[in-house]
């Protein structure tokens, strides 16, 4: 019972790291980015290649995965996304679906279509008993890393000058611009950082989620659930939504395996009927 809870928390934390970049970019630029998973996949493959082919230690490969995804994110933002901010949502959906298709087929071409894993160091394998609760070492690592990241992000967002600028830009872009905040630069930076986090999540997640070229399609719905259920105005919303989703999914698959993924879709639809703008969103100001 507690083990399931533990696994669910680990899964939820992972989803949070994967999806929080998406929620910030959506809130900031009102950009629907269905290709977010592609950045996660880039990070995942970066880790796999680094660890398996170049013998880079697993722990070192994680920040490298972050960097790879962040750089790709920065380039893509400046080259492609910047053109569609002011376009209708339909165009954004089309563009990002196109990017997903390209990423899936391109990765298939370069890396092959089979599922891949990174070799994890022995320290992280197996599980130990802690007051009768089976705790997987790898999952513990995920919880620690993601927990630290969540606290760090919250601190950046609430305590630093960059964070207050970012919040101002999310709340009301026009006023923020009027106050001399360079919203475009903030956005580029946030997009790159969010992509990097997705990449890190993808790298951490290869062990749990599995990694193959269809990753962006398979998990797109999960990211979107986190964002829509959690709302886009804060980091706590997506965080709680991720935990809810992670625990719900793991528990659902364990207790009622017959229903499969049915549980989370039901949760999502119920939440969206109850609160169409997300579970934890404030009243919309726009």
């Amino acid at each position: 019972m507690l083990t399931i809870l533990f696994d669910g928390v680990a899964y939820g934390m992972l989803l949070f790291v994967l999806a929080c970049g998406l929620s910030v970019t959506l809130g900031l630029m009102n950009l629907i980015n269905l290709a977010h998973g592609a950045f996660a996949m880039a990070g995942g493959y970066a880790t796999v290649v680094l660890v398996n082919n170049f013998g880079v230690p697993f722990f070192l490969s994680l920040p490298l995965a972050f960097l790879v995804a962040a750089v790709i994110g920065l380039v893509m933002e400046r080259a492609v996304y910047v053109h569609v901010y002011r376009k209708p949502h339909l165009e954004q959906v089309l563009l990002t679906i196109g990017l997903v298709f390209m990423a899936v087929a391109g990765t298939d071409y370069i890396m092959g279509s089979t599922q891949v894993f990174a070799q994890t160091p022995e320290v992280l394998q197996g599980q130990f008993q802690f007051f009768g609760v089976g705790i997987g070492r790898y999952r513990l690592l995920i919880i620690v890393v993601c927990g630290v990241l969540a606290i760090g992000l919250q601190a950046i967002l609430t305590k630093t000058r960059f964070g207050s600028r970012l919040r101002a830009a999310v709340d009301d872009q026009r006023v923020a611009r009027g106050l001399g905040i360079n919203v475009n630069a903030i956005f580029a930076l946030t997009f790159a950082f969010g992509s990097g986090l997705a990449g890190l999540g993808g790298a951490l997640g290869t062990e749990i989620l599995g990694l193959d070229p269809t990753f962006p399609l398979k998990y797109m719905i999960y990211f979107l659930i986190v964002v829509t259920v959690g709302g886009t105005s804060s980091i706590t919303g997506p965080f709680l939504a991720s935990l809810l989703l992670g625990i719900g999914d793991v528990a659902g698959k364990y207790y009622v395996p017959k229903l499969g993924a049915f549980v989370i879709y039901t949760i999502m639809i119920v939440v969206l009927i109850w609160r169409p703008n997300g579970l934890f969103s404030r009243a919309s100001t726009k």
Binding site: I32, H83, L94, I97, G98, M102, D108, L224, F262
Partner: protein, 350 residues
């Protein structure tokens, strides 16, 4: 009534009736479509696919192009139609394909009606999510109820009875093609009538500005629910056509790729004028046929590249490139030219 008001009224009614009139190109389009029955008898299988895909895209056009609802889960209704048609035939509940087609469409319509209440809440993103969620949920349902639907293996052993008791579905798909084409044409006529009716015009008003539409007395939610259900009916018919012509239904009918491809089909052809879906279906299938021979495994890459390119170039600009074509089309409409000349002569007389 002053002459200024009456001339405005006349111009308004002229511009409204100009939408309704059949353009010569439309007539040529359908003549060519039906001529395909005799012109290319060896290509009827792919043309059958074009016919149901065109119908499917037409149904998406009704909600995207006319009502402005973005849906990523339109395959849900397609799938319901396909499974209902296949199940009806397999268990010999309704043997006559045309009747089964109607029932399948109505079943999809019922699903559309129920889910419309979910989809019409909230913003674009919520709509996107819920439509996607509904499609995934139905897929999961079809997967779990394996005893009924065959699960991941698909529904096999479907035997179709002759259409109207007269025409068998033959191996080369001749009768299947004629059947699909006739269904497509009939439903297109209905959609055309619908789009040019006051109801259709009110949808365009809602798409352009929901708040203003509500202010001039259009019941926004009710109109959207109706058009969503109708679009679901069309999508269900398209799915049923697929199931009937291939005697098969599998989980694939609900897949996300299908919904995403469908958006592409519609975008290639252009939204909001009904022919977009049909033209898009023709271009998409030809392209898919060509690309999948060229690179069997990786053709989605080029589909994706095309989507990205179309958005980056901008659909407005692509439409602008067509301007000479549309100018030519306007000239072809000899009746309109003649009427304009008569109007000019009348103005000179005064």
């Amino acid at each position: 009534m002053s002459s200024a008001t009456s001339s405005i009224l006349r111009r308004a009614s002229d511009s409204l009736s100009a939408r309704v009139r059949w353009h010569p190109l439309e007539i040529i389009f359908w003549i060519v479509a039906f001529a395909m029955i005799w012109l290319m008898p060896t290509r009827h299988l792919i043309m059958t696919e074009i016919a149901w895909l065109g119908l499917f895209a037409l149904s998406l056009d009704l909600i995207v192009g006319y009502a402005g609802i973005i849906s990523l889960g339109h395959a849900a209704f397609f799938g319901v139609g396909a499974y209902v048609a296949a199940l009806l035939a397999k268990h010999e509940l309704i043997n006559e394909p045309v009747l089964a087609l109607l029932v399948a469409g109505l079943a999809a319509m019922a699903v559309g009606f129920v889910t419309s209440f979910l989809v019409l809440r909230g913003t674009d993103l919520t709509r996107l999510m819920v439509s996607l969620g509904v499609a995934l949920m139905l897929r999961e349902l079809a997967n779990q109820f394996g005893w009924l639907t065959g699960g991941a293996d698909g529904l096999q052993g479907v035997v179709m009875q002759p259409i109207l008791g007269l025409f068998r579905f033959d191996m080369f798909g001749h009768n299947g093609f004629v059947y699909c084409l006739v269904v497509l044409f009939v439903l297109f006529l209905v959609a055309r009538r619908l789009a040019n009716s006051p109801f259709g015009l009110s949808l365009v008003a809602i798409k352009n500005n929901p708040l203003r539409a509500a202010a001039i007395g259009i019941p926004v939610d009710q109109r959207l629910i109706v058009i969503y259900s109708i679009a679901a009916f069309y999508a269900g018919i398209a799915g049923a056509l697929l199931a009937q012509t291939t005697s098969f239904a599998s989980l694939d009918v609900f897949s996300f790729d299908r919904s995403a491809d469908l958006l592409l089909v519609l975008i290639i052809g252009g939204t909001g004028y009904l022919y977009g879906g049909l033209i898009g279906a023709i271009l998409f299938k030809l392209m898919q046929d060509y690309l999948s021979v060229l690179t069997p495994q990786y053709w989605p890459f080029w589909i994706g590249a095309l989507l990205v390119a179309m958005v980056l170039i901008g659909r407005d600009r692509i439409t602008a490139w067509n301007a000479p074509l549309r100018h030519l089309a306007a000239k072809l409409d000899w009746r309109a030219t003649r009427r304009a000349a008569a109007a000019a002569a009348a103005a000179e007389d005064r």
